[in-house]
Amino acid sequence: MKLTSIELHNFRPYFGAVRLSFAKDEQSGLILVHGHNGYGKTSLHTAIQWALYGESGSKELHEHFNYQALKQKGAQMNVGLSFSHQGAEYRVVREARPVEFPVIKPSDVARSTVSIYRNGAQLSQGDVEAIRERIESIIPKDASQFFFFDGEQIAQYTASDRTKHAKDAIALVLGLRVARVAIDDAQEILVSVKRERNKAIAQNQAHSKLVSTQDELARQIEALSSEEHATQKRIADRKEQRRAAAVELDGLQEVEGLSKERQRLETELSVVDKARAEVVEALQKEARGLYVRMLGAKVSGAHTTAMSDLEKARDHAASSRVEQAVGQFIDQVLTTGRCICGRSVGPAESDAIRALVQPAKASAQGSQLTPEELNALAAQVHDLAKARQKCEYASQRFDELRARYADLNRQKSGLESRIAALSSQIRGVDDESVTTLHRLIDEADKEIQLSLRELGSIEARLEEATKASADLERQIAKVALASVTARAFDAQVRLLEKLIAALEQYYVQSALARKDQVAQKANHFFRQLTNKPDSYSEMFIKDDFGFGVKAKDGTMPDMNQVSAGEKQVVAFSFILGLNAYAHAEAPLMIDTPMGRLDVPHRQNLAKALAGLDQQVFLFVTDTDLGFGVDELLRGAVRREVEIVQDDSTLTSRIRELGGGNE
């Protein structure tokens, strides 16, 4: 860290703005800040620390506020520091302003706010803690006491009891902060881990109770799972039975279709049978007259013959009547010997006539039927005519019925075949089977529904139990984890303890190593600064970074018995040695460096300070530079300013010595 500028505004004796810039060549070497007591040297020194680290309280802040500025409404106080650090340009601005006017009490001034910029960009805006850490990383506050200090107070560094705070501060300067922070963090973690371990151990006791509950729950889940499985199996079995029954029923229903077809055919058959029966009845009726059909030809022949005979007989009978009348005439003529015309018939004519009629008479008498015979013949002809008619009619009607009967027989035969074929397909099926299957399916459906509801209930309970088990599992895992964690924590505790021990050891060893380095350097400075080189062989640094001197005779006088000036020399030697190995690079700011030193020591200190290549601010009064000190320092002085004060307003300003003020 090398300061490049300081700006003050209404800070302590500085009313208004005051600025001090440092050129490149002024960032190493000495910068002298002159000023009388009370003019503001220490205020400048304080401003730098306030800018970096802020105030301890409102009282301090109130004291920082320039009293004239406090009288102005709206006035603000700020300090701006610009510095380079590790290749970057930083600027820190801290400011404060009153919240009440007029400002009567310290709390009327609000706590300061700070901003930090790096290469012009604001860092961690509004994040106070981040800004503080950033500044701490550049130059820790606890370490700053070894960079920014009052020469008159330096004897405190020689206190025989090095407080832990002081030891830690030295450790910070020597870069042992990391180890220190690691140790502190590890210890903090150790405390936290121990706490968690103890908590985990306490939870162990809850673990066995939870496990017992979990076992019971597991038994319940197992029982429910078995029940679920059994119910599912029951449902599956029933579904399979139902499926089989449904398949069988489908088959039966297919058969039922066949059965219906068979029924239809049977109905059709019954119709055919009925028609056949009617035809049979008709045939039977016709059969009664069937026999006449067979005799048709004979009857026809007999009728024809009879009719011929009858005709002949009738013709003969008719001729007979004529012949009879002629015979009667002839007889009369023969008897009377006279014709009807009156003519007489002679004997010869009578003989001739007799010779003619006698054979005819004789044949007529032989073939002539009697009227009764003729009537009988006529009756026979009549009967034969009727019989003939019957024969002809019977022929026609019977053929028709026969054809119909044959057709019906064919239909019957066909239907019976089809019915037989269907019957063989539907053999064994009956309505009872269908009814049974329907009942089976209905029962299966009801049982399946019931089982499904049951299953739903089991699943709900199982889900509940599983969920409870899962919750319990998580609790157990947590608790188990706690027991595991307890062991883990225990292991961590042991590890941390070892780590802390190792870090402490490292810290101590590092510190010892550094101590030796610092001691060597401090001893170098001590030899430069002491004006009793014959009395003291060396200064030494203790393990706790307390230090002392060793006399030439080997004794080590008690530091409380060493003079204040000598203590100051030893302390300066230590600080200069410490600065040589400081982890943090920072300007040395020494207020009133000569303090209580006598002239030889002052001169020696001036030589030593002039030989430093770091940026050193010396806030000096006139008396500090007397006795040749100024000359000893002059070669190393890069910049010289003076703080002057207005007697009337008691406001200070900075004036360049040899140049204009800022």
Partner: protein, 125 residues
């Protein structure tokens, strides 16, 4: 049936009642053609007349019919009278029974052989 043809006979006799029963059986017979004994008799008689064949038998066997139910069509009487004009009616009656006796044997033989009788086969000859 006019009794003038049959000399006043009142009964029909046969020596083949079993044949009549067989032919008229409703299950195994030929009921469509021969539903009754009289149908068998008429057809058998007609068959015998048509073939001119008679089977004499003892007329003291069982009677199977009444004459009045025979030949309801009134064909057999006139035909037999025409075929046997000189036979007395009593003789024509016996002829009728013998014609029928011959005929029933023929029918029964066919039935025995085939299980049925086709009347048309006889009619169409």
């Amino acid at each position: 049936m006019s009794s003038v043809y049959w000399g006043g006979a009142t009964k029909v006799y046969t020596a083949s009642r079993d044949k009549y029963e067989a032919l008229t059986d409703s299950e195994s017979g030929v009921p469509e053609a021969f539903p009754r004994f009289v149908d068998v008799f008429n057809f058998a008689a007609a068959l015998g007349i048509a073939r001119g064949q008679r089977q004499p038998f003892s007329k003291d066997g069982p009677e199977i019919l009444n004459m009045y139910s025979v030949d309801a069509e009134g064909v057999l009487g006139p035909l037999l009278m025409a075929l046997h004009p000189n036979a007395p009616s009593q003789e024509r009656y016996h002829m009728l029974l013998e014609y029928a006796e011959w005929g029933v044997n023929i029918l029964w033989n066919e039935w025995k052989a085939t299980g049925t009788v086709d009347p048309a086969a006889y009619i169409d000859e």
